[in-house]
Subunit: 451 residues, 2 copies
């Protein structure tokens, strides 16, 4: 999120032409003047080619600074558009954990080439992270940290900190290890500054909150954010220190996960890149699969309706309420699915809470259905006929109850079979509820109207 | 997000009975053993009364630690369930910015009582924050910080830091002020530790990224997270330092905003409290208004269909495709709305980009519509009749194009009239697209089938 100034907007509109007409000197001057966040905004609004051109115009240090701040997807675009030597250098200058974001983004061939281009020591660090499973926090932690041992004094620990100032990614949270490298506590730099030189670290340290390197990155990140830790020690299965997850990376991980969930909730695959700089074809790709799957599901409703075609022919008025009924059902299902999916993401609900969730949603759906049903009955009875009013009222009651229950349970089922709950979310549930809602509707209609 | 252990799950299930049967000694022992994050999980799963009972069992320091870690909504519940003296003490021990979260949550009367109970100095700090508008970053920043001035040496600045260790909320990012308190740079504690004692701070400082105290809290928070700043100086309109936004608070603000957007995207109001500990009636309240509004909107579809009742009577088959067509339209609209709402939240799109967004969505919708239309034509032509196939194909093309355009433009329109784009989001668009889709459908049908 950045606040746009008028000048910035004008610059964004002007740059492409200037680049095309090769007016490089003025642009270079203007770009170099901008703060890095503003540069990022400008870059996000440029096409892949223009972004690469503009990036080349920047002084080396600014170029790296901006590159680091870009989304991995844009970094990847940029790399494919830049020359090999520039690429190798940019990549070598990244922190090991930032490198991982990028490696997860670029094509495998490029990834291999990038790795082989690294200095031996940097390559070793990066290879270590690559050893952890996809989506694990091990791939998101930094291996460059400061730690201390029990029996060490504050003065000695401060010296360790000073020695690592240049390369450690975080120096503000310092894990305390026993002699088997197991994490037994953490000290904040603040505590160190407040203590006397000869104090032993074990007298200052607090109980550590750690996460295992194989843990899902989102889980670890939310833990770090919710506990408001500036950095969380990451450990192996023996509780030995292997890295640190810093809160800025944690916040970034959470933001990306939110992107995914929000996208799936709306039935699209996340773009992972700024909307305006995404080609239409890419946008279509992010939507078409979902749309087809859902359309096939919707074909079910045609089947259901054909089965009741005779009923519709007898009482055409029944057809008028179809969108209202399935729409309301879909909305009720979405509401339940949204709430429960969110609760799962935040860890407020666990798959084993199935029964409690179902209980809540059945009652919620029934209460909503009762309310809407009564209104539906009243209005329909007046404007159409009392018996149709009864059909509509009963259907709303039934559909809302079913929809809320299905919507509430579906995300838990998804999580239980290790599928992202957001995938099984709103549009999917809408489609499901459409079909079941129609069956309920016409069965009730046949019974009440004796067709 | 917290990872549940079996023991924790069992404890959660056991505590309520134990509290009821007043087996306080064993629970006290068990609770006191738990780490604070685990305690938070347990508390989140308890009812309001049980939470208050359990909280009273904790030793004072743990009680405060856990209280600080709870959602403001739960803190508020707890306050209303505890005794006045306990409440006053808990509140006095909170940091000024944490106090603000809580004050925004509790009933006005309680808020006033809490404030009046504060020691004079603390009350002054809090009152200062209360002076900033609702939802502004001024209410979320901490006024307790360390700053330094140009012309100050590293040694002198380090001394300032040591003097504020106890009360400053952050000491790792130190704003550098000129003699008018204007922010001219920032220094990290890391840079201070690496520099020689007599270096002047202006030789170490970097260009500051600041936000004005009246800026929307979400904007400022995303800025802080995206720039990966541990803390961002907050300034007044004259660029004078008034506080700091720390990244842990920024991450928390973003998480809460995500909650709101995700909820509204699904057509519910955010619960702001753990799902399982929320009474059914509260859940119903968070959904019913939305559902009624949408149902009224859906009543429009009944109107539209009645207008075409004659057409349906002539060709009942047309009724069979209604859910499929409006469902597909709704999904296409949701997809566009989701993508654009997200892009707005992340600042990738601005209201002035309206034309570019519309251009993208028209083309995207047309491409998707063309694809689905061809498939729709093929399948319907085979299973029903060629002319109905034409109707379905053309309708899908038209509906997808319209839905994507409306879905893409709606969030921008909302933002332009200062409404949360998520409010105007998916369910709303679905309802709108349902009505327009039906009109398009029957107009095409009448033309093609010459009815």
């Amino acid at each position: 999120m950045t606040i746009h100034t008028e000048q910035l907007d004008q610059l964004i509109d002007r740059i492409p032409q200037q680049l095309e007409s090769r007016e490089l000197a003025p642009i270079t001057a203007e770009l170099t003047e901008l703060s890095s966040p503003d540069l990022v905004v400008v870059f996000e609004h440029l096409s892949v080619q223009h972004r690469a051109m503009a990036h080349r115009l920047l002084p080396k240090d600014r170029a790296l600074e901006v590159f680091e701040a870009l989304d991995p997807a844009l970094q990847s675009d940029l790399l494919t558009a830049l020359q090999a030597p520039e690429v190798a250098q940019l990549f070598a200058e990244l922190d090991p954990d930032d490198r991982m974001w990028l490696l997860d983004e670029v094509p495998a061939a490029l990834a291999a080439r990038l790795l082989s281009g690294l200095p031996a020591e940097e390559r070793a660090l990066t290879a270590g992270l690559l050893g952890y499973p996809q989506d694990s926090v091990g791939r998101r932690m930094t291996p460059e940290m400061v730690s201390t041992h029990v029996g060490t004094t504050v003065a000695a620990t401060m010296q360790r900190v000073r020695d690592r100032l240049a390369d450690a990614e975080t120096i503000y949270t310092i894990p305390v290890l026993d002699h088997g490298r197991k994490v037994v506590g953490v000290i904040s730099l603040r505590d160190l500054l407040g203590a006397t030189d000869d104090t032993l670290v074990e007298h200052l340290m607090q109980a550590p909150h750690t996460a295992e390197a194989t843990l899902d990155a989102e889980h670890a990140a939310r833990l770090c954010v919710d506990l408001r830790l500036l950095a969380m020690p990451i450990v192996d299965s023996e509780n030995r220190l292997v890295g640190m997850l810093t809160i800025d990376d944690a916040a970034r991980i959470v933001e990306i996960e939110e992107n995914e969930d929000s996208a799936r909730q709306g039935g699209v695959e996340p773009l992972n890149r700024p909307y305006l700089s995404t080609p239409v074809f890419t946008i279509v790709r992010s939507r078409v699969v979902w749309l087809l799957v859902l359309a096939l599901g919707a074909a079910l409703t045609v089947q259901v309706l054909s089965a009741f075609e005779a009923t519709i022919e007898q009482v055409t008025a029944l057809a008028l309420f179809v969108p209202l009924l399935i729409g309301t059902g879909g909305n009720t299902g979405n509401q339940a699915a949204t709430t429960v999916t969110r609760a799962l993401a935040l860890g407020d609900v666990r798959p084993r809470d199935l029964a409690r969730v179902l209980g809540k949603e059945v009652r919620t759906g029934a209460m909503l259905g009762l309310l809407l049903g009564c209104m539906g009955f009243g209005i329909t009875a007046v404007f159409f006929s009392p018996d149709i009013g009864v059909v509509i009222g009963l259907t709303l009651l039934a559909v809302c109850t079913v929809a809320a229950s299905v919507g509430g349970v579906m995300p838990l089922a998804a999580r239980a079979i290790k599928v992202d709950p957001a995938v099984f979310s709103n549009p999917f549930i809408t489609t499901f509820v459409d079909a079941t809602g129609l069956i309920i509707y016409f069965l009730i209609a046949r019974t009440v109207l004796q067709l």
